[in-house]
Amino acid sequence: MNLDAFVAILGIPALAAAALALIPGYRLSAGLNVAASAATLAAAASLFLVRPPGGLYLRVDDLSVVFIVLSAFVGLTTSVFSASYIAHEVEIGRLTPARLRFYHAMYQVLMFAMNLGLIANNIGLMWVAIELATLTTVMMVAIYRTHEAIEAAWKYFILGSVGIALALFGTILVYVAAQPVVGEGLPGMVWTRLIAAAHGMDPALLNLAFVFLMLGYGTKVGLAPLHAWLPDAHAEGPTPISAVLSGLLLNVALYAVLRFKMLLAANPGAVAPGPLMIAMGLVTLIFAAFMIYRRRDIKRMFAYSSIEHMGVIAFAFGMGGPLANFAGLLHMTMHSLTKSAIFFNVGHIAQAKGTQTIADIRGLTVTHPALGWMLTAGVMAIAGLPPFGIFTSEFLLVSSTFARQPLLAVPLVFGLIVAFGALLMRLQSVAFGEPSPGTARVSASYLPILGHLALVLAAGVFFPPAITQWFQHVARLLG
């Protein structure tokens, strides 16, 4: 295989991982980490210009490019943030050098796995990649070796494995359904062939397969009632990982679900996957919205907010149609950017205040104005207030839903309001009021946070026509 974007996208992280596993000093390794991520982003961006020809294993299309570039970008900003974050962790001795090497290596492995999952043209390969991503994150969640961390990792691990198993069963079923049409062997798993021949497959098998795939990959997406691992994993792992989890891994899993949704949609006999996604989306949204109220740990709270938004996105794609799909894509992008920005912010806050307990963080805008106001902006954005991008997507989603299916819009709006109330309540107690002790300055890197927020703001005010057409095109693809 000649050297093309694929090789770059997969090779750079792999090599970087190998190298990082050996480099001791954290300055150097952090730098290399950033460099590698930057190179990956460059390679990913090149996909806009030149598309390497797809093979039996790898391929990109308009849909996956969106995801790839997004994950490469967030991967880069996260690596920048992680540099300063890890520095602090090393200072206070939470991370030993050995674990640091491990951490950086794993970070690149994760990037590798996610890119692989996104550009895989082969459902088996995609499955392997996502399993790899899961294992990596499990180990990174457990990196602090505290009771809570191990418990969270264990929970994540068990539930994740079951999810993976279900997904595999679904994959096998898809193959079984495809095999009579496409033929035995490798072709029976190649995405492009599957989608081409979908109409001829056995609908009953496809339905069965989608049930397993929805549940299997849905566990990764964090849809209720499969979400249980997500909050703890976010809360107990290092913050950069929380950011990557919320910002990227959930998207990758969602991407898989979307793929198979397209497959079912292409088959006339199969049941429409929309209602299932709508139902799970609504359940997830409302459940997560209520769960936010009682949270005491700030990272866990935002993890639940991620679950809530995943519910919204699943709902959007379940609704289908140009407007709703557009809204779904936009919402996904905006959520990745915003939520990772929030986690960056929260990481610094936790370091400054020395705690993650919401009750002990008060009056941030007084003690740490920059962090406090950025957090306020981030929460406003994530809560769907203009002029941030999420407002745009929620505007499109709610209005179009109400025009098409008024009864579905009611629970949607209900969930949104409940979640808003919860987030606002917490935000006010964290950012305003009499400040709590703990005024330590942190060597925070505001650049990633500001960058993300700026992008989200820009998307809310001015959405470039080029990207608009791109999204509209993809929305049409999704049907």
Partner: protein
């Protein structure tokens, strides 16, 4: 595929389901592990037979993996854990045997019903195998939630995975089966290691999974 070979494959697959039900029936860890080893053997046989019947030599690797890893290494390892922890006599049913068995039978029924929905012109053996595999998967999942401690959890998960391998091998000419089974073996190895490496005993004085849930983040 001739009738005979089909019947053999059918028999072997069916035996897996049977053994799964037997596992539900066990209430001692040691016995549970032995039965699981038996299932692994049955799986190996069935996979080997598929390799022979489909003329797919690479499946022998899978069969060997199953035999070596799941029929021998892991059971032995688990037995040693249990000895070390001195919980070999421990009763670990969270749900009574009777209800568990009933549920198991119901699940098998469900699996068959679901599979009957599939159009018959699909490869018959694949269809039957899938029915059995689905049953094994569901039973394994059931076992995971009816067993109280980590070992039971591991065993349940492994039998679930047996079902997956059965399905994968049953699907004619399915690519990557070896890779996938390897990947899964890695996964299982991780779980077993996890039981060691997290040194659950030192931390929690037991392998009772509930102990792992004690902290659950916000309780403390």
């Amino acid at each position: 595929m001739t009738g005979l070979s089909f019947d053999i494959a059918h028999l072997l697959a069916g035996s897996l389901v049977l053994i799964s039900l037997l596992m539900l029936y066990q209430d001692r860890l040691t016995a549970l592990i032995n039965v699981f080893a038996a299932q692994a053997v049955a799986l190996a046989l069935s996979v080997a037979w598929q390799a022979h019947a489909q003329g797919a030599p690479h499946l022998y690797v899978t069969a060997f993996l199953a035999l070596a890893l799941k029929a021998i290494i892991i059971p032995v390892a688990l037995q040693r854990i249990i000895k070390r922890l001195g919980i070999h006599r421990e009763l670990d049913q969270a749900v009574g045997i009777g209800p568990a068995m009933l549920a198991g039978v119901a699940l098998v029924g469900l699996a068959l019903v679901v599979m009957l929905g599939v159009a018959p012109e699909a490869d018959r053996i694949a269809r039957e195998d899938l029915a059995f595999a689905l049953s094994v998967v569901l039973l394994g999942l059931l076992m995971m939630i009816t067993r109280r401690n980590a070992v039971g959890l591991v065993v349940g998960f492994m039998s679930l995975e047996n079902g997956l391998v059965l399905a994968a091998t049953g699907a004619r000419g399915m690519p990557l089966v070896v890779e996938i089974s390897v990947a899964f073996s890695v996964l299982i190895a991780f779980i077993v290691i996890g039981v060691f490496l997290f040194r659950i005993r030192e931390r929690f004085e037991t392998v009772d999974v509930a102990a792992l849930d004690r902290f659950r983040g916000e309780r403390a």
